[in-house]
Symmetry: C2
Subunit: 358 residues, 2 copies
């Protein structure tokens, strides 16, 4: 075993750390003046300014963010308003993302509260928002499922100096500081490419939207547009694509009937996390139709593993909320910039890589 001696001096230029005090000494002024120069606050004489800037140019000064942050010791309150996962299990991951961020930032003085609204009730959405507004937290994270109401409420938050971050879906608002989500049109194209690669002979496809009324119609339409655009661009092959809008309750009958009428269907693209419902329905028809759908909820994963669903597209709900909170927290604590928009990768999931995502 060779053991090297420590070199006695590691203070090379690079790892030298300068403080405001150092700069003040070097420039022959006081810490206060250095601070004034650094932050352009207060009056500074030409002479002092020049002296400090000269030092600043010569060294690579990195203000100690921890010290700055410590000084500003306050508790920041962030409120996350999420769809209640009891109504749709998809949202459970969003809760987990928030919770993970919450536990990571707890000891930094970031306090996070989760609230729920009922996805079937605009009223509950508005009520919760009003209640949050009344608490006046420092920031709010929102799933803006109801477009019109969301725009209104975000404006109110803004008027009250409450920062708003949104995830899951874009809306036409100018006042949110950040959006984290996925490119929906693109994800439709991804689904199309997957479908193309597994379909071979009969080129009839079906797009199924489930419970459109309850969900965000735009959301689904964008996915459909992407899906169709991909096939439209293919020059050699002509696919026939039909769109079906069904209610959850009518799905099984509607699908059975449709497939009975048209036995040439070879692939189904489901635009929501309810993909498993289609897989369930198909199991009874004993057909060999391929399915591409969305989201890693338990029921979907089960079907994916036994290959009754071929591919799922992962919308990364947990990462969406986790990231949103991290952006807010790091902005409060360390003054980090928040990107206006963060589009997460469009993850393709099959039976073999699914475990690596959960």
């Amino acid at each position: 075993m060779i053991v090297f001696y420590q070199s006695s001096n590691n203070n090379d230029m690079e790892s030298q750390k300068y403080t405001i005090k150092d700069i003040a000494n070097l420039a022959g002024v006081s810490k206060g003046t250095v601070d004034r120069v650094l932050h352009k606050r207060g009056k500074v004489s030409q002479k002092s300014l020049a002296a400090v800037n000269k030092v600043l140019d010569a060294i690579d000064f990195q203000p100690n963010i921890l010290a700055r942050s410590l000084k500003n010791s306050k508790v920041y309150r962030i409120c996350a308003l999420l769809p209640n996962p009891e109504k749709d299990i998809y949202w459970q991951s969003c809760v987990e993302g928030v919770n993970q961020a919450a536990s990571e930032f707890k000891s930094f003085g970031i306090h996070i509260e989760i609230r729920y609204f009922n996805i079937e009730s605009i009223d509950s959405f508005e009520k919760e928002n009003m209640s949050i507004l009344n608490q006046s937290p420092d920031a709010v994270l929102l799933a803006p499922l109801f477009q019109m109401q969301s725009i209104q409420i975000i404006e109110m938050y803004h008027a009250n100096n409450i920062i708003v971050s949104i995830f899951n879906n874009q809306i036409d608002s100018k006042f949110e500081i950040n959006y984290v989500g996925q490119a929906l049109y693109k994800s439709g194209r991804v689904a199309a490419r997957l479908m193309e690669s597994i379909i071979h002979e009969k080129k009839k496809l079906v797009i199924i939207h489930i419970d459109e009324a309850l969900n965000n119609a735009n959301h689904m339409k964008n996915k459909e547009k992407g899906f169709r655009s991909y096939f439209d661009e293919l020059t050699q092959d002509a696919y026939r694509i039909t769109t079906l809008n069904v209610k959850n309750s009518e799905l099984e009958d509607a699908l059975a009937k449709y497939l009975n009428d048209d036995t040439d269907v070879s692939g189904i693209f489901v635009s929501t996390s309810k993909t498993y419902l289609v897989a369930n329905a198909l199991q009874k028809t004993n057909s060999n139709v391929k399915i591409v759908g969305y989201d890693l909820i338990e029921e979907n994963v089960k079907h994916l593993k036994n290959k009754s669903i071929d591919y799922l597209i992962h919308q990364n709900p947990k990462q969406q909320t986790y990231l949103s909170i991290v952006y807010l927290a790091e902005n409060f604590l360390f003054d980090k910039n928040i990107p206006r928009q963060k589009l997460l990768p469009i993850d393709i999931i099959n039976s073999e890589n699914v475990d690596s995502y959960v």
Copy 2:
């Protein structure tokens, strides 16, 4: 526009922030004693202990990590030893991952230096390591391409109290604090599932390892095992799978010859980032063989987009090094735990989702 009045008192139990000073006051002891109890250091009388613990039980005390960290203000030095990207562009992303982390943690007093070794030279690997050892940084991030030498050098770092983190590939060492990489066997299975879904008639497949001598043979063998295991488990269909080991320079001829002898081949799985070489070679044969390979380097992405490569598996090299550095930095700064192993998701990439990853 409705504007709500701020509620006058937001100090609910939850958002109350206690400091050791508060605890000291509540327990009727000094800050020093509270610190001794919290960290079990120094002697404390039964009485004081009980008093402090009583307070601690009653409140939810979150020590302010920023303050702790500030106190311990020192410059941490991390050295990353990476394969030189000039020899193999794959490694470029690793450099970027380190650089990103470096810029994020610069103002926290984390100083990061990147060094390169030549992937074709064990000697350069050893020399660089010795030089790093001599600098005695606080931590080292290593791509342990040469198994035996890596084990030795990691032991040396360990003996010198230098923390070592590794990425890209596992080795049989007990002294590294953390490994970030991908499950190789699993990724072979993912490739197999992809291949199965796009291959339909002729069930002959080829596995190609390129430049095995230069690369980590184990690495490739694990992927192959995973790939084969998937097809072995299929009961209904019999696939014939052949393995080809070729040198970069001989690839084109070897492949042309092979495909000429056996015209039934319908899919090729390439175990390295040199997948584009196979695509290049195939373009000249005008065949319709499907290709599944690895990594989002530029040449591969080009082929992916024009569909001469069907799928790529993304090993996330940037994320590997980025995460490794983040783990180390957050451990130094905030005493965060470092997981022993972090296996990144096995990302499936096709022509449509590739842009969302870069």
